[in-house]
Subunit: 276 residues, 2 copies
């Protein structure tokens, strides 16, 4: 019996950095605007360390506002400044690059397209940086229907897979006389997805750990489901000993916003059950 | 019995313009550098009107040098100026745009790619404007093998079909962090090809008229061959009455460098044979 971790799993660079920044500003008067990452357990832990969460700037009168990893639009920075709040920016540098790429394309006269999930906070933030003028494309069908124009400028959500990016762009090649594609994909997602699928092929059961509100964790679970029996859990508590009956090899992976201590707890619990 | 002309055929804008410019400079002392267009009959006619052909600038000591529709590199302009020749530029404006697009991409720091036929004089001229640094891609295989880089800038030969352009670009999407595609395709080729194929489906025989050295005429003949019996001829003299035996509908198309008088001669000869 064996418990195997995926080659790439858990915290990505941007998440690690955001949490470090939040901790450096944990003074009991600082808040993140929305959960800093899509992991309820980590958000809860930060609250205990002195970093709260507000849903709106209107809920804050003073102190430090921490911009979360997914980023926000330029208006939020202005509003926070007007209110006299201290602004600490924990936006993932890759997301920041996507935001500024959208802004640059707009300034250069391109009609801006964002490839990604319409309702994801990161995509919403990139959209804000395009002066709310960008067209968001989620599916190939939407890309096919896009009307032609002179200059089309394309960016993507950082967590889009390289394969998906290509599938959508194919339909945009003949939509403009000038096409500028800024590849704002972060490799962390592709790495985690490839490693998870590779592992899922070799094991009898996959445990995918991470926030139920985390898009990238949910995607990992979907991909693994095609290869073997898969459970998406947030914590070790959810893991039922029954799941492991008759199982010889267990694979573990975790989303980019899943802290290492939760991964270690799940790993430990699996070993304890298997050793019984 | 019926002779039907393709909806689009013969001289394109750039060729019409180049011949007009050549005629305006027909003074017995002017020469084009290489044949002005890929049509031996038209080149011969221009010779009779006072426009000669030289293969090299070294062959000219004085007079006017006419730059042909396919264009040339910047060195030729410099050499001609140094020699004290009068320069008349009959480069097709669409080709000129492709040349300057390659130059601009190079100046903006892109690794330049030209999609087109390596040995076509137009592609050679675009290559010259990229400071001879561009990579020329003819096939999907070549595109697949291209190594990745930071910034990739793409232009194309003006006569590449939209479909071919797309087939090659698909393999370049994930080759760079930044991709700028300048669609330097001229619609004349696509129009002539679509019209020819449409017509070839409805007739028993296709006559494709144009220079044997004309790439776009040869391509038209290849496309028609897949639909019905097809002959590629340069003049009415080549047309054999035997070909029309038992034929009810004849389709005619012609390359972008084929003059109207040759098309009319072929049309007339067909009707004469059919009326016998």
């Amino acid at each position: 019996m064996e418990v195997i971790l995926a080659e790439y799993l858990g915290f990505c660079y941007g998440v690690k950095r955001a949490i470090k920044i939040a901790r450096e500003n944990a003074d009991g008067k600082s808040n993140t605007l929305g959960p800093i990452i899509h992991n309820p357990q980590m958000v809860e832990q930060l609250k205990n360390e002195g970093v709260g969460v507000v849903e709106n700037l209107a809920d804050m009168k003073e102190g430090t506002i921490i911009i979360r990893s997914h980023g926000v639009g330029p208006q939020i920075y202005q509003e926070a400044e007007t209110k006299g709040l201290k602004i600490v920016d924990a936006t993932c540098p890759f997301v920041k690059k996507a935001q500024l790429s959208a802004k640059k394309l707009l300034e250069e006269g391109y009609k801006v397209v964002i490839i990604g999930e319409r309702n994801h906070p990161e995509v919403k933030s990139i959209f804000e940086w395009s002066n709310k003028e960008a067209i968001i494309l989620e599916t190939e069908e939407e890309a096919k229907k896009l009307s032609s124009c002179q200059k089309l400028g394309i960016v993507s959500q950082t967590t889009v897979s390289g394969e998906r990016f290509k599938q959508i762009i194919v339909h945009l090649i003949d939509k403009a006389s000038e096409l500028k594609i800024l590849r704002t994909i972060c490799t962390a997602t592709d790495q985690r997805q490839s490693a998870a699928m590779e592992l899922a092929k070799k094991v009898d059961l996959m445990l995918v750990i991470g926030g139920k509100n985390s898009a990238n964790t949910t995607k990992l679970a979907q991909l693994c489901q095609n290869k073997c029996k898969t459970y998406h859990i947030e914590t070790a508590q959810e893991l039922s000993p029954k799941w492991l009956e008759g199982i010889k090899k267990i694979g573990i992976t975790a989303g980019a916003s899943t802290p290492g201590w939760i991964i270690r707890e799940v790993q430990k619990k699996c070993q304890t059950i298997l050793e019984k």
